[in-house]
Amino acid sequence: MSFNYEQSFTIQGGNFTDAGVVSVFIKRTLQKMGIPSEILRRVAIATYESEINIISYARIGIIYIRVTPENIIINIDDEGPGIENIELAMRAGYSTADEKIREMGFGAGMGIPNIINCSDDFKLTSEVSKGTHLRILININTN
């Protein structure tokens, strides 16, 4: 099997109406390509949590996905407040979400840990009051 695909998506901060639209689109696209379901599950979680993070915290963000025969690379770049303490942000249960976000069932401090659990390689960098960058690598095991 040979997978080749890349696409970028712009996500508006605060737009909870369309939350998940990009993740659902990516999942369906990869499903049609014949990506194995366990890989699909991991990509869906990683892209969904990234989408929610942009919507919850940033002004605007871009999700870029590239699928090769060997792996899936997801880059997320946002313009926003950034993360002051990355170590804390990566800890399960820690969240800076406001009441409105929590009422909807987000902001439980599970987003980044979920992404890490679904990644074969994960990198998070951030500059306060500039933005956040995430790089997620998921290997495709086709044998």
Partner: protein
Amino acid sequence: MELSHIAKDLNLKIKCGEELLGRDVSGGYVGDLLSDVMANSKEGNLWITRQTHQNIVAVASLKDLAGIVLVQGKEPDVDALEKASKEGIPILVTELSSFDVAGKLYTLLS
């Protein structure tokens, strides 16, 4: 077990996705935190929740859940219903609590 059978047995009211009730339900998952459901629900699960807003549809869709049951007399938001119909996610409602729905579903599936 078919979703239609569960709906009948638990007396769940169908809000949308009536044509999809032939779906097989593999088990259930109870959760109001969307990230928890994203991380831990399994394909074919019936999701029991008190969240009624439109974001539940994307979660159910991404995790290939069999459907969503809203508990304690909660009604889905209008835009949630619209999205669920479009995405093919059955939404059912009940006056029962999450505990009661989960208990009855567990008994039914055992």
